[in-house]
Structure formats: C-alpha cells, structure tokens
C-alpha cells in the first residue's frame, strides 16, 4: 500500500491586551514575549526532537521514508526572529531531499473564504518564502484548517497547483473511497487529495485516549492496518505538535513513531509525498463540495465564523483590503495580513478553551481595538498620499 504522511505546523501571533487607550498610540499589537516563549517551548518539546527523529528515520531507511511539511509563513517568521536554530533544523530536513513542503496561505488566514485575490497573493508569498528558505517550490496546497470547496479547488487550479489537500469528512465523501484521488467538478488538472480522517485521528487523538477500544495502540498493529488498506494511497496528516506537545514525550510518542515508520516499511508499504501522488495517479472520481469544509470536529467553518463577534471582526478586517493595499505600504500590508490569521477568530469562539485570553469577549475587544488602530493609520496614510498628490498637481 502507498502511504503519504503530512505534518502541519503553525504558531499563532497572540495579541497583547490592546485596550482603547492604545488606539492611535502604538501599532505593536502582538505579544512578542509570549509568542517567543511559546514558540521556544514547543520548539524544545516538539519541533526539534521531531525533526531529529524524522531525519534519523530518513537516513536509516535510505530515503524510503518520505513525508511532507505544511509550515505556515507565520511560524517560519517567528522562527526567524526567535529561534533561527529551528529554521536550520527544517533546512537540514529539506536537504535530505525526502521532505516535500506544501503551499499554504502565508498567514494561515481564511482569505479563501473572504477574498480570493488576497488568498492567491498569500499563497504566492508563501511559495516564495519556501523557495527562499528551502530551495523548492511547493506544488500542492494545504489551506488553513484544510478548508476546501469547489471554489477553493478552482482557485488552486488558477494558482497552478497540482494538488490540494482536503479532509475526508463523511457528508463530502458520500460513497467515495478516502484512499483514492478525486477531482472537483470541472477541474481536471488539480487533484484533490483526501485525508484519511479515521486513521489520522487514531494517531493524533485516540492513541492517548484510554477509553479507546484499541488503547494502548501498538505501532505494529497500526502498520498492519496501513498494509491492509485499499485504494491508491492512504493519506495520513495531522498537526506536527502532536509529537511531543499534544502528546508529551512521557506518552512514548517519539518511541511510537520511531517504531511505526520502519514497521510500515517492513510491511511492504511505500511512502510517497503529496506531490509524487498527484503526478503518479489519476483521479478516480469527482467530489462535489459546494460548501466549505474543514478538518475541525464538525467539518464546518463554525469555529471561525459562527458567532456575531467573529463575523464582525472578519467583515471589518476584509473591508480594509482596498485602502490598505492602496497605501502600498509593505509594512502596513504585512500588519494587516497578520491580523487575518484564523487563530484570532478562533479565540472569539465561545467554546474554545485553548486561548491566551480571559474570555472570547476579551479576544474580540483587543482585536477590534487593534483593528481600529490600523484603520486610523490607514486613513492617515491615505490623507498624506492625497495631500502629496494635490501638491504635485499644483
């Protein structure tokens, strides 16, 4: 059986308690200290040891083990500022030639839902960054939260992507086999790679759940499941933070993977990267997905845009697109784009317990104040440009 393994890594830019009195006073919205601290912590516990392990596995298997990384532009930027050693570690992985990097919207944003043009620009910015850092151009798109729809697939085609990742939730898959490549309606040249949700969740969540019937899962058992899979390729993907952060070292997570990869290879399976898959296989059918789906629990976008606070914040940040871009101020555009990260809206979800803020209401207030400050700056700049233009005319 063919298997493709993809890890996704991202760290949010958490905001400071940006209160009303700061509007117009300073444009530093992010809690650099906290963000650096969390990045460092996760780097030590997860990214560095995981990278080390993956490299060992590649070397031990003579390159038979291959996998893909979807690294957001935001985490790479944070690493540049705070943990250059992490970048170096990723580059060492890239140098093995066995790791493929996927394209993402640079800012892990929801632009694919709110501004197709902005979405394309962010993906382009990310592709350029990956090429600069790792010397390869991604050909497969991993959208934020695996957001996928017919429209998004069409956009991926426009961007020249050979493939796009989607989560295989039940209503979308209908009777299709999750291990086969698909296509969106009328889109032939960008193939849809469907994540095997079931097997991915076994590793990402169930492995450490004592109430799971298969607990404790042996890597040999899982390798066996892979071997017995049917279809073109079984596509396993999850957050990279699963290794060492969500599942701490004490759960034996690194030992598990150290055993799992050789066991899969021993079963006669073949590791492929997403790019290799889309070049080798034809799509077997068409999936019709008019509504956006994601890899969240419910497969919807509700974690980002279901309540009024989220909707208001999203509306107002994308309302700024035209004036921000008109300023041609690269720094300002960058600041605006960082405020698009999906995390900001996820923190406003009422049931989200995984947040740096005291409540979703605080998340909303700080965000809207920061946004108001940006509005003020955008307006100032526009006024300045107008003044200069009229002076030139005179």
């Amino acid at each position: 059986m063919n298997i493709s393994l993809t890890f996704h890594a991202h760290q949010p830019n958490r905001l400071i308690a940006y209160d009303f009195f700061k509007i117009g006073e300073h444009a530093f919205y992010e809690d650099d200290m906290l963000n650096a601290q969390v990045l460092s912590q996760v780097t030590e516990r997860c990214y560095l040891p995981a990278n080390r392990l993956m490299r060992q596995l590649i070397e031990l298997s003579d390159g038979k083990f291959r996998f893909a990384l979807a690294l957001s532009g935001v985490i790479l930027e944070q690493a540049m500022h705070h943990r250059p050693d992490l970048l170096l570690s990723f580059r060492e992985l890239a140098d093995t030639g066995c790791v493929e990097f996927l394209a993402m919207p640079y800012y892990a944003s929801l632009a694919s839902l709110y501004s197709p043009g902005e979405f394309a620009e962010q993906v382009q910015e990310h592709i350029d960054l990956i090429e600069t850092l790792f010397g390869v151009r991604p050909t497969v798109l991993w959208n934020t939260g695996m957001l996928y729809s017919n429209a998004i697939a069409a956009q991926a085609l426009d961007m020249g992507m050979e493939g796009i990742m989607a989560d295989g939730n039940r209503q979308m898959m209908n009777n299709l086999h999750p291990n086969d490549l698909q296509c969106a309606p009328l889109i032939a040249n960008t193939k849809t790679i469907v994540r095997n949700r079931h097997l991915s969740n076994d590793l990402a969540n169930n492995r450490v759940d004592p109430s799971w019937t298969e607990y404790p899962l042996s890597p040999y058992t899982f390798a066996d499941w892979i071997t017995k899979q049917e279809g073109q390729v079984v596509n396993i993907s999850m957050d990279y933070e699963t290794l060492g952060e969500r599942q701490p070292d004490s759960t034996g997570v690194f030992e598990f993977w150290r055993t799992l990869i050789p066991a899969i290879l021993f079963g006669g399976n073949r590791f492929m990267t997403p790019g290799e898959i889309v070049r080798e296989f034809h799509s077997t059918g068409t999936i019709d997905c008019p509504q956006p789906t994601s890899c969240s629990t419910f497969g919807t976008t509700s974690q980002w845009n279901a309540n009024v606070m989220q909707q208001e914040a999203l509306k107002k940040i994308y309302d700024l697109e035209e004036p921000v871009k008109a300023s041609r101020d690269r720094n300002m555009i960058h600041v605006w784009r960082k405020l698009q990260s999906a995390d900001h809206f996820h923190y406003m979800e009422k049931s989200n317990g995984f947040t740096p803020y005291p409540s979703p209401y605080d998340a909303y207030i700080y965000y809207m104040n920061a946004l108001a400050d940006l509005q003020v700056r955008v307006k100032q700049e526009a006024d300045m440009i107008r003044a200069m233009e009229s002076k030139n005319l005179a």
Binding site: D19, F20, F21, I23, G24, E25, N307, V308, M309, Q311, E312, A313, K315, K316, S359, Y361, Y364, I365, M368, N369, L371, A372, Q375, V376, K379, Q380
Partner: protein, 449 residues
C-alpha cells in the same frame, strides 16, 4: 405657652447666628473606605454642612485614624461589644415591626454570646428583635463588602446599634441617607423623639423599574412615610417619591447634588474622529443598550466618530455581542472598569458625553463631564437635566433624537461651542455649599425654628 412661642418668633431671624443646628447623620458608604456614588455624595454633603451645623455621622464602617474636617464620624466596626451592651440596657426595639416582610435568614445559630439576630413574632404577628450580640457587631468588622452577605441583617443590626447610640448624642434632628439607613433613622426618631429627614439618592424604582416591590421598596416607603421631610436629589426623583411611593408632596424638598471641582485637563486624541462617551454601570437603569442603538444611528450618518462605553456590569457581554451585531465593532469600544485616573484621562479626550439613563435620580457624571467642558446629550428621565439647562435632551427611548443631537454636536461647531458654554454656566451653581444651604432650610422647616 404664649411666651415660649414669642421667644421662638423673636429669634427666628437670628437662629443662624444664635445657635447652630445639631445634626446626626446616618450614612452607609463613606470615603475613603467606600467610594461609591452614594459615599461621594455623603462626603460632599457632610463637608459642606459641617461649615454651618454641628454634625456627627454614624456609618457601619470607618477607619479610626482618618480625620474629617469639621465633623465627627463613628464607624460601628470600631465599637466594642461592651459599649453596646451598656448602651442597650433597658431599651426595647420597636420600629421594625411595621415592616411587612422578614427577609432575614430565619435560622439563628448559637454562639458563645447567645443567639444573635434572633427574631420572634408576637401574638399579633409583629416582629420582635433580640438584643445586639457579639456576632452582630462582627457583621461590620469583617472584610466582606457592605452590600454582600446577609445585607438585611446588616441593615437591621445597624438600625439597632444606631438607636441605642443616638441616646448618647446631643442633636436636634436625624438625617438618613438611602434605604439602608432609613430603618435606623426611624428607630432613632422613636427612641429620641427627634425629627427625621431622609435623603433619597436612588430608589428601588430607579434600580429595578416601575414594578419593583419587595423589602427594599417597603423600607423606602416606610422610611419616607415616617420622615418629617424627604430630600430627593432632584425634582424628577421627587415625582418618583410622590408617584410611586405615595409620599405626601408637601414634605418633599428636592435638593440637587453638587459636584466637587475636579482637576480639569485636556489631552490630544490620538485618532482623528470625535469621541462620544458613555460612563456608568452596565445595567438596564443606565440604558447602555440605547447608547449602542444611538451609536449605530449616528454612524449611519457620519463616520467621523468613535464611541466608548466605560464601565462594567451584568450586561457587558451581551452588549459586546449586540455591538458586533450592529456592525459597529470597530467604532464602538469597551474599556471595562476604569479607576478615577483613567476616567479623567478619558474625559480629557471626550467630545460629547451621552447619558441615556432610563431613570437617573441625579447623574453626577454629566456634571463632571461638564467640568471638562464637554457638552452632554442626556435623557429627560434624569435629575441632572433640571440643572443642565444647556444640555441637549431626549427621552431615553428616543434613540433617533439622541442620535440627531450627537450628529448635530459633532458636525456643527457653533452649536458645540454654545452648548459647552451653557454647561459651564450651569455647573457654576452646582456645588455642595448651595446644596447644604437648601438642606439647612429644610431643617429649619422641620424644626419649626
């Protein structure tokens, strides 16, 4: 008898000079320990009164080492149990029986000092109260907030202790502030035969609406009925006392609050838009929902404005969501609770003050804003509307009119200047000395001097 009357009438014009009135004031909040609106007002009144009357104040809690200029202040929390015991000998509490409801916790618990706060019923169904016990005194020494815990018991114990203490004071009349001290005032009146003046800073009608009934309402009504004079903080509140509590209008004498002069300064805004401010607890009484609707209406007409809602309260979260729903999230800012320094900083930036209160006995904050030269848009259902002749007014529910006033102010500079100048005139007479003079006139009326 005739001679006595003659003596009084002869001295009528000289009483100011001849003999200062001795006033026993009963308060609940008092700075520096508690700085709520009631406390600030009581402090302002006491300071101004003390210049012209002999004033003694009793409150539940005070710091023993704090000195007040011109008057004495005793906190029950500083009393020793033995003092109360001595004072209490031979005294029967009686006034509480007239209060219909018994809201106190009717599960007395035993202690070394006996059973505190015990309540028994007479055969006629009247309430009888036991003597003050050590545990009762501890109600006021605990660190607990004065309004939390068993508030009803605190109110009753305060009344009992005030009554027995009053017998050791030399005074001409008793002046009680808000319902928490009304029972005490009535009890003191019954114990000493001295006339009672009750001050109405805020009523249950303002806090809980027109249908408010219950123990607090009963005490307010009872206190005002038993009083020889009622001093509401505005004519508006006077109509509430007469209309909703059935108090005889002949003994209602409205006296507007004053405002302590504040250090006024102006800061430069860091954003170009005009700033409209709402300041207050986020409860239904203050009309924060109306402010949101007003903001949405204003923003439909001009983009050159931002709104700030400063304060916190049970409605905060709901309001945040309503703001998002109205699509004004980027122009309508919530600050949460602000201390005095931050409030002043905010006032120094503010262009228009908006107070859309549903029922506001007075509304000191509008005066404070006026001191900062800020024109105000206020609801007609507020006491301060009587003082601020220049302020733009509308019914609290008339969000269209409120919005129009704000739009006019932020777009019409001439109007803005005119309203700001008129407010400066209006606040000149709004000081505590003027208020104290009016209160003293009420004292004279009550005493018949």
């Amino acid at each position: 008898m005739v001679a006595r009357r003659n003596r009084v009438s002869l001295n009528e014009n000289k009483t100011y000079a001849m003999r200062r009135i001795k006033v026993l004031e009963l308060g609940w909040e008092f700075p520096p320990l508690i700085n709520g609106g009631l406390g600030v007002a009581c402090m302002g009144i006491s300071k101004a009164l003390a210049k012209k009357v002999d004033l003694s104040v009793i409150v539940p809690k005070a710091t023993p080492d704090y000195h007040y200029e011109g008057f004495s202040l005793v906190g029950i929390n500083n009393l020793k149990y033995r003092q109360v015991e001595t004072l209490e000998s031979g005294y029967m509490y009686e006034s509480f029986s007239a209060v219909g409801h018994a809201p106190v916790n009717l599960q007395p618990y035993a202690s070394a000092e006996g059973t505190p706060g015990q309540i028994t019923f007479t055969r006629e169904g009247k309430l009888l109260f036991s003597k003050v016990h050590q545990a009762d005194l501890e109600l006021f020494t605990a660190h607990e907030d004065l309004y939390s815990g068993d508030l009803a018991r605190k109110v009753i114990e305060f009344s009992k202790i005030c009554a027995v203490m009053a017998r050791t004071y030399d005074f001409d009349l008793v002046h009680a502030h808000d319902w928490m001290t009304y029972l005490a005032g009535v009890e003191v009146k019954k114990a000493t035969g001295k006339p009672l003046v009750v001050h109405l800073h805020a009523s249950q009608f303002d806090r809980a609406g027109a249908d408010a009934r219950g123990w607090i309402y009963d005490i307010e009504k009872y206190g005002m009925e038993q009083a020889d004079a009622v001093i509401p903080v505005s004519k508006y509140t006077g109509t509430v006392a007469a209309g909703h509590y059935g108090i005889n209008p002949d003994k209602i004498f409205p006296v507007h609050n004053g405002a302590d002069p504040v250090h006024v300064f102006h800061s430069k805004k860091k954003f170009p838009e005009k700033l409209v401010l709402f300041l207050g607890r986020l409860t239904a009484q203050k009309g924060p929902e109306f402010f949101l609707q007003i903001a949405a209406k204003v923003l439909e007409q001009t983009k050159n404005v931002r709104f700030v809602m400063a304060g916190t309260g049970e409605k905060l979260r709901q309001l945040i969501e309503t703001g998002a729903f109205h699509g004004v999230g980027d122009r309508f800012h919530f600050t949460g609770f602000l201390d005095k320094k931050k409030v002043n900083e905010l006032l120094s930036l503010t262009d228009v003050y908006c107070m859309p209160s549903v029922s506001e006995p007075f509304g000191l904050s509008a005066l404070e804003a006026a001191q900062f030269n800020i024109p105000a848009v206020i609801s007609k259902q507020s006491g301060v509307a009587e003082v601020m002749k220049g302020a733009l007014k509308a019914d609290f529910w008339d969000v269209n009119m409120m919005a129009k006033h704000i739009v006019d102010l932020v777009t019409d500079e001439k109007l803005y200047k005119k309203v700001a100048e008129q407010s400066a005139q209006d606040i000149k007479n709004s000081n505590w000395d003027t208020a104290a003079d009016k209160m003293i006139r009420v004292y004279h009326h009550v005493l018949g001097w």
